[in-house]
Amino acid sequence: MTNEILGGFQQLVMLAVVRLAEAAYGARIQDELEQTAGRSVSISTVYVTLDRLERRGYVASWLADPTPIRGGKSKRYYRVTKAGLDALRQSREELERMWQGVETSLEAGPPR
């Protein structure tokens, strides 16, 4: 499972869940993506991605009690699993390896 490559947006969502620690649920994840990553996404996209990650075992979720600000609606909290953290780390390493030496080329422009 861990050799499956994480999509870019999936990484962003997982990182948001990690950053939010104990407070990771739909509305907060959506807001975190907007505030920190500058990605304005719809709630349905967030849930579709979380569902996919959950089915791959990268995140886990549980229902929590409703709160008044939500009009009495319950919320589902998410956390990143061990497998999720491994996948995230692996993705980052892959990316870092790939980025090595690219900065200079970017500055120099394409080879002539």
């Binding site: 739909g26 509305a27 959506q30 349905s44 849930y47 579709v48 089915r55 009009g71 609606k73």
Partner: protein, 892 residues
């Protein structure tokens, strides 16, 4: 600072059940957060964006039914299953409330049916292209005579040839002229109407024949072959659709002729009356420039515009005028697309109809919406039970939507029936009033229109009740509502708004229809100048093939002798018929056609050439004025002694006498007919004015000449006034004609009353259509206000009970409810009045002798609607006043 209701409902509907509550909560939280951070407006926009970007299909695939094992698959099959459940449930509830269902279905079917019918007509008449090859390039080319105000005049053969030779913008130009022939085979004699056409007419239209061939250039030469192409209708009626008729010799005007082709049934060029086409075979040498009998049609060359053609033809006409100084005719040219020419006056009328039925539809939908809303509220207990048993709100909303869609689909199906019926009515009532009416059919476009309308209607009037009705707290909001029950919750405000809108539309429609009715009444009360009762007319045209256009004056005079003798005999025989009180002959007939106009030169007046006055003329027998009931004011009628050899005499009408000899004795004055040096004609009598063409026209100047002194190109009307039913005389007339000339057809049979009636068929048609629509609108508005008042009174039962218990008089309660109805009505009236003022200007050129602001019509229309509203409110008001305080207080 609440979450926007509409997107929230929609998102809840779209979201899968498993996530519904979480997403709702997340969005609410996100909305509040953004309201604080970015302000209300941005937060709202964000919320709407969430709705727009809901990824339904992918969301639906999430099936982590974490809490509720076993997981339910929300598949299409399940959805269909649930919808069919909803449908069956809806059917049962509707059957339990048959009155509700019937009212809704009738309302809907009328709304949808009327709209489908009118749309079908608009589509067939205005939108669908004409059935020719590249029809958008086909244009009409008319001669205009600005001096007489003629915008679309006939063209002479030499002019047509010159136009055709010089035009470059038109790739082809053809001409056609009306003609009739007498057909005879064995004992069968009939008169056919048709057109003489140039050889290139059919190629321009590009319509192939059903059988045989069309008229082509080789046929169209002077003294060419005597051939005819038959219309499908004539082929059926006269030859029983026998294909063997092709090539068989038939007898037309006593000469042998050959049928060369049959056109398909939908080919009706240039109009539906056409029965045959025959080559024009024009002879330039014999047809003169002032014999205008042709209509010209052309095809725009590739890439040429109408404007280019118009500019070119105008200069061509000017050049021809300059080159032929002998005929200083001072005319112009008007180029017009064939389609525009065909639909001309129908365009505005049809759009007015379309607007009117759209009003009817909106009223119908508001009514149904109101009924559903009211019913939704009364269904609270049922909804509450279903919610308690676990039905989710989306499911409840869907139930409402399914029911309303079901109603509208059934209503739409019934509406198609209504449309078919209305179209049949239109075809009868409107025959001759609308172009292309025979081409109207309920085709797939119209079907699609009806189906689309039904579905949209279902969703439209289902949405509001669904949203309000499915809210389980409605009951509470009603009971707890403090203060004025009339303006209480949002739902009832919507209801009242809908009723006000309905009343407004009904007022606007009623005023519009009222204007037409008023105008029609004024039109039909115009005196035509003769007494149409018990008069029957028929036209007889003895054959004389040598008398067409282009026959020399001598030939004409020679042929005239026999013709006059025939008519003298016929008149004597007709006068002797039992039951005939008075018989006469006339060339033209008021409202019956065959009118002509001539230039006249009254003695002592000198007019610039081309500036001579033009007056209507007619040729009549001595007894004409007596038979028609036209009063002779001065002088004498024509006499037997007015013959060819005696001095030329005429009788003129009041207008002509006033025009040339005001304040003088007109009898004894002289004038010349035509612009040349014709013989002087002496006025021997003055008769009352007679309207000839349209009741909306002032009778112009006109003169009559005795048939014993005049010459005319074809037949005459036999006018018979009887002392009883006139129509029985026609058989006797036919027999007399048969004895004089066997197989001579008797045509144009009509009573004078019919002719008069036909002349107002067009305004009557428009008036009837609009009156029917506005009648429907008023009835629907009645139903609407009745429903809403009943409903509101029902809701206020408790309050009214308390009032009565506290000593309110019954009359007071009655007045209170009626006042309520009146307030709604007046609000509607104000809006409707504004609408009427804005919209009735489209009726402007349909009105006769009436402005679009006619106060009487407005007052009547408004009064009608207000009284209707009060009557509608009276029933519920009386029920309210009769409220028993004890029962109503015990009610809850």
């Amino acid at each position: 600072m609440t979450v926007p209701r509409l997107p929230r409902t929609l998102i809840i509907l779209l979201a899968p059940e498993a996530l519904r509550s979480q997403i709702d909560g997340d969005l609410r939280e996100g909305f509040l957060l953004r309201t604080e951070r970015d302000g209300h407006l941005k937060a709202r926009r964000w919320y709407w964006r969430q709705l727009i970007s809901v990824d339904v299909w992918r969301l639906r695939r999430i099936h982590g039914q974490r809490n509720r094992p076993p997981p339910r698959r929300r598949s299409i099959t399940l959805l269909l299953h649930e919808v069919s459940q909803d449908t069956r449930f809806g059917m049962r509830t509707l059957i339990r409330e048959p009155l509700f269902a019937v009212v809704v279905l009738v309302t809907l079917s009328i709304g949808i049916g009327a709209n489908t019918a009118i749309f079908t007509i608009v589509n067939s008449v205005l939108l669908r292209p004409l059935g020719y090859e590249k029809p958008e390039d086909i244009v009409m080319v008319f001669r205009t005579v600005p001096r007489f105000g003629f915008a679309r005049s006939s063209v002479s053969y030499p002019d047509f040839l010159d136009w055709r030779a010089r035009s470059e913008t038109l790739s082809a130009m053809a001409a056609y002229g009306y003609t009739t022939v007498n057909y005879r085979e064995g004992e069968v004699a009939d008169r056919w109407q048709g057109f003489r056409v140039t050889g290139n007419l059919f190629p321009i239209l590009g319509v192939p024949p059903l059988l045989g061939r069309v008229v082509s250039d080789p046929d169209d030469v002077p003294n060419g072959p005597n051939v005819v192409v038959l219309s499908h209708g004539l082929w059926q009626s006269q030859f029983g659709s026998d294909p063997e008729v092709l090539g068989r010799p038939i007898t037309l005007n006593g000469e042998p002729a050959t049928v060369i082709g049959i056109m398909p049934s939908d080919f009706d060029f240039p109009s539906g009356i056409t029965q045959f086409w025959t080559p024009l075979q024009g002879d330039r040498e014999r047809l003169e420039r002032d014999t205008n009998f042709l209509t010209v049609i052309g095809r725009l060359g590739t890439g040429r515009s109408l404007e280019q053609a118009q500019a070119e033809m105008t200069s061509v006409a000017a050049r021809i005028d300059a080159e032929a100084p002998d005929a200083n005719r001072d005319y112009g040219v008007f180029v017009e697309r064939r389609h525009d020419y065909v639909v001309r006056d129908a365009r505005i009328a049809l759009w007015v109809f379309m607007g009117a039925v759209a009003f009817v539809l909106v009223i119908a939908l508001s009514n149904v919406g109101n009924l559903m809303l009211a019913r939704g509220t009364t269904r609270n207990p049922e909804i509450a039970v279903r919610a308690a048993l676990g039905a989710t709100r989306p499911r409840l909303i869907r139930q409402f939507l399914v029911e309303s869609t079901m109603l509208s689909v059934v209503g739409g199906a019934l509406g198609l029936g209504v449309a078919v019926f209305m179209l049949r009515m239109f075809a009868t009532l409107g025959s001759g009033q609308l172009p292309r009416l025979d081409q109207i059919r309920l085709d797939t476009t119209a079907m699609a229109f009806a189906v689309g309308l039904s579905v949209v209607a279902g969703i439209l009037f289902g949405t509001l009740p669904a949203i309000f009705g499915s809210r389980p707290d409605v009951q509470n909001s009603i009971r707890d509502r403090a203060g004025d029950g009339w303006t209480g919750n949002f739902g009832s405000r919507v209801q009242h708004g809908l009723v006000v809108a309905e009343i407004a539309l009904a007022v606007a429609l009623t005023i519009g229809a009222g204007l037409l009715i008023n105008s029609f009444a004024r039109l039909t009360s115009v005196e035509p100048g003769f007494d149409p009762s018990n008069i029957v007319v028929a036209r007889v045209a003895p054959p004389s093939p040598e008398m067409g256009p282009g026959v020399s004056a001598d030939g004409m005079a020679e042929a005239m002798g026999g013709r006059q003798e025939f008519f003298r005999d016929l008149l004597a025989r007709t006068n002797a018929l039992p039951g005939v009180a008075a018989a006469a002959l006339s060339y033209g007939m008021p409202f019956g056609g065959y009118t002509f106009s001539r230039v006249v030169q009254p003695e002592g007046f000198i007019f610039e050439e081309g500036d001579e006055p033009v007056v209507d003329g007619d040729i009549v027998s001595a007894g004409f004025f007596r038979a028609m009931g036209i009063p002779i004011a001065e002088g004498r009628p024509f006499a037997e002694s007015d013959v060819r050899e005696s001095p030329s005499v005429a009788i003129i009408n009041h207008t002509m006498a006033e025009m040339f000899w005001p304040d003088q004795e007109a009898v004894g004055k002289r004038f010349r007919v035509g612009s040349g040096d014709a013989e002087w004609t002496t006025v021997v009598g003055i008769v009352g004015n007679v309207i000839r063409r349209s009741l909306s026209e002032d009778p112009g100047p006109s003169y009559y000449r005795p048939h014993t002194q005049a010459q005319w190109p074809d037949g005459m009307f036999v006018v018979m006034r009887s002392n009883r039913s006139a129509i029985g005389l026609i058989a006797a007339l036919r027999e007399e004609v048969r004895q004089l000339i066997p197989h001579l057809p008797v045509t144009d049979v009509a009573t004078a009353a019919e002719l008069l009636d036909t002349s107002v068929a067009s305004p009557r048609f428009r008036t009837a259509v609009l009156a029917v629509f506005s009648g429907i609108a008023v009835v629907l508005a009645f139903v609407g206000i009745y429903g809403v008042m009943s409903f509101t009174v029902g809701l206020r039962k408790r309050e009214i009970g308390i009032r009565i218990a506290l000593g309110a008089a019954q009359g007071g309660v009655l007045r209170m409810v009626l006042r309520r109805g009146l307030v709604l009505a007046l609000m509607g009236v104000v809006l409707g009045l504004a609408g009427a003022l804005a919209l009735t200007r489209f009726l402007n050129n349909m009105l006769f002798n009436l402005t679009t602001y006619d106060p009487l019509t407005y007052v009547t229309g408004i009064a009608l609607v207000v009284v209707t509203c009060l009557v509608a409110a009276y029933g519920p008001a009386r029920r309210a006043a009769a409220t028993d305080p004890l029962t109503s207080l015990r009610y809850d």
